[in-house]
Symmetry: C2
Subunit: 453 residues, 2 copies
């Protein structure tokens, strides 16, 4: 690997500058006003794949944003790795909480601050650069295919259709994804389980128009109060979700596995200090690590209604809204949970209001094997560059496409993520370590090398 | 009154045009970005008072927006009427629900549509025009003083200081206020009771930054969920407020008075139909009219937190907020209730969150006498112009200054309001009947005439 490492060292600055160019494009897929920028980011990735030496690079149209495909087939008899990533990012608001503008990347204290730096532009782009390095140094030992989408942050709506329609072209021996994080740079880990997701929006309507709270208050259902009542009732005093049959399909995790998880390095005091909280809160009978990995949850991601400007307005509003998502564990169907939520939410609405439930998107939970050739190649690659074997760990986030790849392509994934939980993805001041970016580019070729053996 | 009525008839169009000019000024006192317009409205009212013939007209500075004073002292031995009104208006949002722009007044179906048309520019300006009419026709039978403020919609913060500092100048025999409504044009009524108000804003902080709901969801207090829990707990299953000692000072209303209220014309089916609700909702054991008049309430006027843009964002937010107000009944102190709320709200916060409570403003409930000379003059004036005696009625809104005038000036108020409950004050499409505007200008001189006798 000597010439390859030399190449990485020589091109370090350019690799960072190119990522910065990509981070400057505000490719927020959730917000129509950034639509042009999402397309611009797709074009950028396409050009860089071509420049790196990929063949048959194309922007494949979908009903939403395009999927970039590219490949390098060196030898049909060699194994094939499908690299998946995404070029779209989460919305950046609230803007005022960013210490530097979200789409003007800067390095501070060894971290690249920008929306998408860790999720997933920085991690996706490591693969483009690792590929370039392998190819330029005649060190690509496998066939490689790229599939980079632009709708991951809005539920990968069109990806499954694309994968189904192109299953022959996408045939591979493993799907390699860098869109997860490690425990720490000192405790490298590989994600082996991901929670699923069911995301819905609810609307509660009381009176047909905003009213004066003095004239009507006390006699008319206030949709905000009612929405709060309804949301509060979704958890019991043990912080268990009260939707009937919500836990029906949750598999109990064995005492052995729970004991293994309990051994993962975790410092509750440091966790609370980092988040400046006097206490954690979650389902009775489970540890913090278990609550975010093996247990399903229900969180309100957004709520709004009535007067939210400065000062006071004595309005009794007509409507109140919330965005609510549930994280799911293996064996829970997001479609079934979505239906259970809808039925339950409508059933608990008092007669004095009207309720509308709109499903946004969802995805199944996933567990990846830890004894496959691909997993072992990933573990050895990390051992090589980090100096220690990674810990296999289930985590709380969702990458629904992992289950989809298994279902449609029949291929398992390896989640070779280089981020850290503290990267503040989906939050203001998202960042990604410069160390992690380069470490990823250095580690990926080892994965290819071990996987080809 | 013949020449006076003739004068009103001749100047009708101009009276309406002048009101339109005032309604075009977006004098929203709650929002700093309209600050210049609030001053502009003050200037407008000052000029019109001078033009109408008032003496010693001045914009009196306060720590907030100025108070306009003006007077006409015809004879020290005659009774003096102090006309109070306000030139500021409620915020107009949500703008998209207005069928015509809130600050471009138009007449549709006999109603003036504009923010402030009923509350209170339209009603306040009737007094300026009635005064002009009386003066120009040598028909002013009493001394008159004007005090028009610009902070009513934000709690009249600086009015009490002004009244205290100018109690000699403001000396009067009655305070005349048109800032309330009648049952209907067919059932004229005079408001004799008003609820008080305690308005607060709450902030709940969970983690110190927005988090990814997959990575942290289930283990960390979500401030939106917690805020919903806390708000839900503020009512019990009988829709009674659960704040300890909240009802301590509420005086029971006698069976006789409740029986009298029950006789007021009220059609529950029509009420529900008008608001498009399948049911009403309120405190067990009380009728709809009682719930909005003799009972205190707690309503959330606004709530916000997390992602409220288009689409989906899986954020676990750091903070959630709500604006909460309580309508109070006579004998409840808004300061005491504010303290009880603060103490209770902080006490029910789980350890995993931090809570901040900020009082906005408040005011005491008021009951006005129905046997005073002023009340009888008002009732006779309405009987003259509407053809029937008005019904005395307690209503739900708050005009905290009524209690303040009594306390500081020792003077009772008469609430000679010409609006209707259906005027949609504080809501999109606020309107005020052209009929009501002219009827007010016609009725006010009769009040002066009867009160002078």
């Amino acid at each position: 690997m000597e010439p390859l490492n030399q190449y990485l060292e020589t091109n370090k600055e350019r690799f960072l500058n190119e990522l910065f160019d990509l981070l400057r494009i505000p490719s927020v897929s959730a917000d129509p006003k950034f639509s042009q920028d999402v397309h611009k980011a797709a074009e950028f990735v396409k050009e860089k794949l071509i420049a790196a030496g990929a063949d048959n690079v194309a922007l494949c149209p979908t009903d939403g944003f395009p999927i970039i495909y590219g490949e390098k087939i060196i030898d049909e008899s060699k194994p094939t790795v499908l690299c998946y990533g995404h070029y779209d990012v989460q919305p950046a608001d609230p803007y005022e909480l960013w210490t530097s503008p979200p789409f003007e990347p800067v390095v501070k204290d060894g971290n690249i601050f920008a929306r998408g730096s860790a999720d997933d532009k920085g991690q996706m782009y490591m693969h483009v650069k690792a590929f370039e390095a392998m190819l330029k140094n005649n060190a690509l030992p496998c066939n490689i295919k790229f599939m980079i989408e632009g709708e991951e942050e809005v539920g990968s709506t069109n990806l499954e259709i694309f994968v189904r329609n192109n299953s022959e072209k996408l045939k591979c021996d493993v799907v390699l994804i860098s869109d997860t994080s490690m425990i720490s740079n000192e405790h490298p880990s590989i994600t082996t389980g991901l929670r699923g997701l069911a995301y819905l929006e609810v609307e509660v309507t009381g009176p047909n128009r905003d009213l004066h709270s003095g004239v009507y208050g006390g006699a008319v259902a206030n949709p905000i109060n009612v929405l709060c009542d309804m949301i509060a009732s979704l958890h019991d005093e043990k912080r268990r979700v009260t939707i009937p049959r919500f836990y029906d399909d949750v598999q109990d995790v064995s005492a052995e596995e729970r004991a293994a998880t309990a051994k993962a390095p975790f410092d509750l005091a440091a966790y609370k200090k980092d988040l400046d909280m006097d206490d954690v809160m979650g389902e009775e009978g489970f540890s913090t690590l278990e609550r975010v990995s093996i247990r399903p949850t229900l969180d309100v991601n957004g709520i709004w209604g009535g007067y939210i400007g400065q000062g006071a307005k004595t309005v009794l509003p007509s409507k109140a809204y919330a965005k609510i998502s549930m994280r799911l564990v293996p064996n829970q169907s997001h479609e079934k949970i979505t239906r259970l939520f809808e039925t339950h939410f409508e059933s608990i609405a008092p007669k004095a209001v009207k309720v509308k439930v709109t499903p946004h998107h969802g995805g199944e939970a996933a567990v990846t094997p830890i004894d496959s050739k691909a997993y072992l190649a990933a573990a050895k690659a990390i051992q090589k560059t980090y100096g220690k074997m990674p810990i296999p760990l289930r985590t709380g986030g969702s990458i629904p496409i992992v289950t989809m790849f298994e279902k449609v392509l029949g291929t398992q994934s390896v989640l070779l993520g280089f981020g850290l939980d503290s990267d503040a993805i989906h939050s203001p001041n998202e960042h990604y370590g410069v160390f992690n970016y380069y470490k990823g580019i250095e580690t990926i070729p080892y994965f290819f090398s071990y996987f080809a053996q």
